[in-house]
């Protein structure tokens, strides 16, 4: 019984960790793209003002 508990604990922990790592990766990809969009908008504004 106790021997088998470690396997169930490992399986559920692994499943949750994988989901959390994926959510973290989505968050960081989104943050990087958001920064790119803001930079590009600032560049467009600067170029518009210069013209």
């Amino acid at each position: 019984m106790e021997e088998n508990l470690k396997w169930i604990w490992a399986a559920f922990s692994l499943a949750w960790v994988l989901h959390l790592v994926y959510v973290y990766s989505l968050g960081s990809r989104q943050k990087a793209l958001k920064r790119q969009v803001e930079d590009l908008r600032a560049q467009l504004e600067d170029q518009g003002r210069a013209q």
Binding site: N4, W7, I8, F12, H19, V23, V37
Partner: protein, 231 residues
């Protein structure tokens, strides 16, 4: 004034709340409510996460495949976005299914892995979608990328019935289907299995919405980049 993709919420709060409540109820049902399986004991409870993960992966790859067919028919980018989001999140669930299966197999079979038909076809399915994501990164031209990925996604979808039927078509170490046939599974176990699938589907939908947001932002960035270069 154009509305930026990141100003819209990726997942509405009610959906996040619903998924949280469903997951909590699901954990209660799995660890407290459902009866103990007589032969395998407590380790059998991995079943309530392992099998629903496979169901969700199959649903995700089917959504991805159908969206790919629609993309090829209409060339509308929103179908390509849905396809990549469903396939990437589906791959996450397929990996969870494979790894939880290995951790269940070790105490029950004595080995982490057996090259039997069900396990091998499931691994192949996951590898098809790994290839899909690699293709996504390696093809630069957007239309060509979307077409190549749509074809790969449809190819992957065709593998789903093969994985599902593998333990009926070939002799496998993997257990036979427990949902078909009368009296094959305790009704309470069946209920928990369906409930867990439903709870994981709500998580899946949140992740798909978050992943689609990234595609929205990528398209917005590409559009702005073109404008900057045009000036």
């Amino acid at each position: 004034m154009r509305t930026s993709a990141y100003l819209k919420p990726a997942a509405p709060p009610w959906l996040v709340g619903l998924a949280g409540v469903l997951m909590m109820i699901s954990l209660y049902l799995i660890f407290i409510w459902v009866p103990m399986e007589r032969t395998m004991g407590v380790v059998q409870r991995i079943f309530y996460f392992h099998v629903p993960s496979a169901f969700v992966a199959f649903i995700a790859f089917t959504i991805g495949g159908i969206a790919s067919i629609q993309y090829l028919a209409t060339r509308k980018n929103n179908y390509d976005d849905l396809s990549v989001a469903a396939n990437e999140v589906g791959l996450l669930f397929a990996v969870v299914n494979l790894l939880t299966g290995m951790l269940w197999a070790r105490p029950v079979w004595g080995v982490y892995w057996a090259w039997d038909a069900r396990l091998t076809t499931m691994l192949l399915l996951a590898l098809i979608y790994f290839a899909y994501l690699i293709l996504r990164q390696s093809v630069v031209e957007p239309t060509q990328r979307a077409v190549v990925c749509a074809v790969t996604s449809i190819f992957g979808m065709v593998d789903i019935p093969i994985v599902y039927m593998a333990n009926q078509w070939w002799r496998t170490q993997h257990p036979a289907p427990v949902l078909s046939g009368e009296g094959s599974i305790d009704p309470r176990m069946r209920f928990v299995l369906y409930f867990s699938t439903f709870a994981l589907l709500s998580v899946f939908w949140i992740l798909v919405r978050m992943r689609r947001r990234i595609e929205d932002l990528r398209r917005e960035a590409d559009g702005l980049r073109r404008e900057v270069h045009a000036l």
